[in-house]
């Protein structure tokens, strides 16, 4: 003999109580829990989906921003005698940013040596010295070149300089040196 009644719990969900009578000394009670509400399930799934997609979207935006503003693909230094020096940085997204410095403002291009006292290493970096427009003998600015790849260690510079001077001598147009660094 079976009997069924439905109640509601404190949250309003529906409980079903089943009563089975096997014999005077054997009874079985069966309580069915409230089912999973479809609304709450969809709500939770939607929220989680939205949060995840928002996170993905933000990551993509951040990646695009990184590629467009931060990640430098290639830097070029173009030296034209008696005209000026041009530095181009091209970013991973294809953007190119160029700076041109006229020869009248350039005092010289030098290789600076920096000594890390604590880390005990010596690095070299190339930079351009700019003249002060008011006083031509003073240096107003030091512009480092090839900023993305950073400074180069001493052993590398040796081979660099030798290769550069060799190519300068063998080049037919002695007044234009494009110098590309990846």
């Amino acid at each position: 003999m079976e009997d069924e009644r439905s109640f509601s719990d404190i949250c309003g969900g529906r409980l079903v109580l089943q009563r089975r009578y096997y014999s005077p000394f054997c009874w079985e009670f069966c309580l069915t829990c409230p089912g999973l509400s479809l609304c709450s399930l969809t709500a939770v799934t939607c929220t989680v989906c939205m949060i995840l997609s928002a996170a993905i979207f933000i990551t993509l935006l951040g990646l695009l921003g990184y590629l467009h503003f931060v990640k430098i693909d290639q830097e070029t230094l173009l030296i034209i005698d008696s005209l000026g020096i041009q530095m181009t940085s091209s970013y991973a997204s294809g953007k190119e940013s160029t700076t041109f410095i006229e020869m009248g403002n350039v005092k010289d291009v030098v290789i600076n040596e920096a000594i890390y006292i604590l880390q005990q290493k010596v690095i070299y970096y190339l930079c351009i010295l700019l003249k002060d427009p008011v006083e031509p003998h003073k240096i107003s600015q030091v512009v480092p070149v090839f900023q993305c790849s950073g400074p180069v260690l001493a052993e590398e510079w040796d081979s660099w300089i030798k290769w550069w001077f060799h190519s300068k001598i063998s080049e037919e147009s002695p007044y234009c040196f494009p110098e590309t660094l990846h």
Partner: protein, 581 residues
């Protein structure tokens, strides 16, 4: 030095002829401006060049020959061109040559007067730099290099070579008036040969702008005369005017409009840009204001706003009353001095009661007032926002009053406490020396001083709490007003015309130039392409931003905190000509 020849890209496909331009000996650069085609009479060419030189103060001369020939070199033409070198003598004499349909160029620069071997003319190395003449003509270098004045003419030793190129092209407008298709004596090829630019609307606008400017300038001067009338100087009108941000904004806009419609022409490109920026800003403002107006007047929004205003003010007053009741009890579990608490609480409650009655008195007129105020939006969105800020200030006037009372009380208490604390320790403030000195007090002075000190110390939490609560409310109102002012400032000072120009015509605002090396063959001269490097957006905003009202917070955070601690009144938005309270 290597000789640099600046050659316009538009002349690269022109027929053979003479090269006309400017030679800059200090930088060893030849700036070619146009090509004169055959047939020509040398006298007329020289006359034209003299005319241009006089009008523009630029030393224009014949620089050399240009030869655009077929595959087979024409011998007669070659000899003829060389013969021209004797008629128009120029040192050095350029000979540019291009084979039709191919990319191979050749150039020679011959110097007669610096012989390596006597009798043999020497040749210089030449570098060809192509430039887009129209873009260079229209663009403006930033920062603007001030080249020596027009009377001095050719003194260019100190400035950069590129500024000279830009300046030369910009000043040679007269040379670009005649064209190879014209009927004049001399046929020239330059950037206008690709098609003379003109627009009917542009010409009409130019013709109409004169009388329109005159009319508007008269109207505006009338308005400014009325506003400067002596009636407005009677007290309390100047005081009210200085407190209302609407009047400030209206005055600011009037200044802008007077500048834009003044009948004087702009002296420099910067002034022209400034005028254009102001005009675009005013137009945008008025457009946004009209949109707001149409939105307000549609579907009776004004009526709804007026209906909602009085209940909102009531609600705010009720909340304040609840707050005061809470303060009069045991706020946050703190124990207040009952007597002082009751006095202050009842005092403020009475003020709120007065305020509510005032609002209820005004309620029948609110809709009319709002309707007329809404009309003012057609003067611009900034004016509407300023009016909104003023309305907020007026509606929260009671909060301002409470803040002033609380702050004054607290300030008095703090000063009293500090002075009595000094007495407690046997010291005194020396006004003459502006420092703390020791002082011997009488016994009764010490007794009364200590009593008063104790009283003030025990009353401090109550006063401090009232001060804190009302200061927070006041800061909230000030923040809201501040945000509105920020928006108004943004609309006022953003240089929209310059930004639009940077977006659509980036070559007009140049930060510099950039070079690209074109295909290079062995034995041929080096060819470079010069392009304009546009100014970055941040620099555009920085260079061309319009001056704003000047209503910026004058305090740093540190001084603000200090003022708050000592109970001094804060006025974050000091406007010009304000008096101290």
């Amino acid at each position: 030095m290597v000789l640099k020849a600046f050659f316009p890209t538009c002349c690269a496909s022109a027929d053979s002829g003479l090269l006309v331009g400017r030679w800059v000996p200090e930088q060893s650069s030849a700036i070619v401006l146009a090509v004169v085609h055959f047939p020509f009479i040398p006298i007329q060419v020289k006359e034209l060049l003299a005319q241009v030189q006089q009008a523009s103060q630029v030393g224009v001369a014949v620089l050399g020959t240009w030869c655009h020939r077929q595959q087979e070199p024409e011998e007669s033409l070659g000899h003829f061109l060389e013969g021209l070198g004797t008629i128009f003598s120029h040192e050095p004499w350029l000979q540019l040559c291009r084979e039709r349909g191919s990319k191979s160029w050749s150039c020679k620069a011959i110097r007669q007067q610096v012989p390596v071997a006597p009798g043999v003319p020497s040749e210089d190395q030449v570098m060809l730099i192509f430039y887009d003449q129209r873009k260079v003509l229209l663009s403006q270098l930033h920062p603007p290099t001030v080249l020596p004045d027009h009377q001095a003419g050719d003194a260019v030793a100190s400035s950069g070579s590129l500024a000279v190129v830009f300046d030369t092209v910009a000043r040679s407008e007269l040379l670009f008036h005649g064209d190879q298709y014209d009927e004049g004596p001399v046929r020239l090829s330059h950037w206008q040969s690709e098609g003379v630019e003109a627009s009917v609307l542009g010409e009409l606008a130019k013709r109409a702008s004169g009388p329109v400017c005159l009319l508007l300038a008269c109207l505006l001067s009338l308005v400014s005369a009325v506003s400067a009338c002596w009636l407005w100087k009677l007290w309390p009108l100047p005081f009210i005017r200085s407190k209302l941000s609407t009047c400030e904004q209206l005055r600011h806009r009037l200044e802008h409009l007077t500048l834009v419609f003044s009948t004087q022409r702009a002296q420099s490109p910067t002034q022209l840009m400034r005028k254009a920026n102001m005009l675009v800003s005013v137009l945008l403002d008025v457009a946004l204001g009209l949109m707001l107006l149409s939105w307000l007047h549609s579907s009776n929004r004004i009526g709804q706003l007026a209906d909602a205003l009085v209940p909102v003010a009531d609600r705010v007053a009720e909340e304040l009353q609840h707050l005061l009741q809470w303060l009069m009890g045991a706020p946050a579990g703190l124990k207040m001095n009952r007597a002082l608490d009751q006095v202050l609480g009842r005092f403020f409650l009475y003020h709120i009661h007065l305020w509510i009655s005032y609002i209820h008195l005004m309620s029948p007129f609110i809709e009319r007032i709002l309707w007329h105020v809404g009309l003012s939006a057609c003067l611009g969105l900034t004016v509407a926002l300023s009016i909104l800020s003023d309305i907020i200030a007026l509606l929260t006037f009671h909060i301002y009053c409470f803040y002033v009372y609380g702050a004054r009380l607290y300030c008095l208490k703090i000063y009293g406490l500090s002075s009595l604390w000094r007495l407690f320790r046997g010291k005194k403030w020396n006004v003459l020396r502006q420092r703390v000195d020791s002082c011997s007090y009488n016994l009764d002075q010490l007794f009364i001083g200590t009593l008063l000190f104790t009283i003030l110390v025990f009353l401090l939490p109550t006063t401090a709490l009232y001060y804190l609560v009302f200061t927070l409310l006041r800061l909230l109102v000030v923040t809201v007003q501040g945000l509105i002012h920020l928006l108004v400032d943004l609309i006022n000072s953003l240089p929209l015309y310059s930004l639009g120009l940077r977006l659509c015509r980036p070559y007009r605002l140049a930060a510099g130039v950039k070079f690209r090396v074109l295909e290079h063959e062995a034995g041929r001269p080096l060819r470079l392409l010069m392009q304009i490097n546009p100014l970055p957006y941040s620099h555009v905003v920085h260079t061309y931003r319009l001056p704003s009202c000047g209503c910026h917070p004058k305090h740093s955070w540190g001084s603000l905190c200090r003022k708050l601690f000592f109970g001094e009144l804060i006025y974050p938005w000091r406007q010009r000509g304000d008096r101290q309270d």
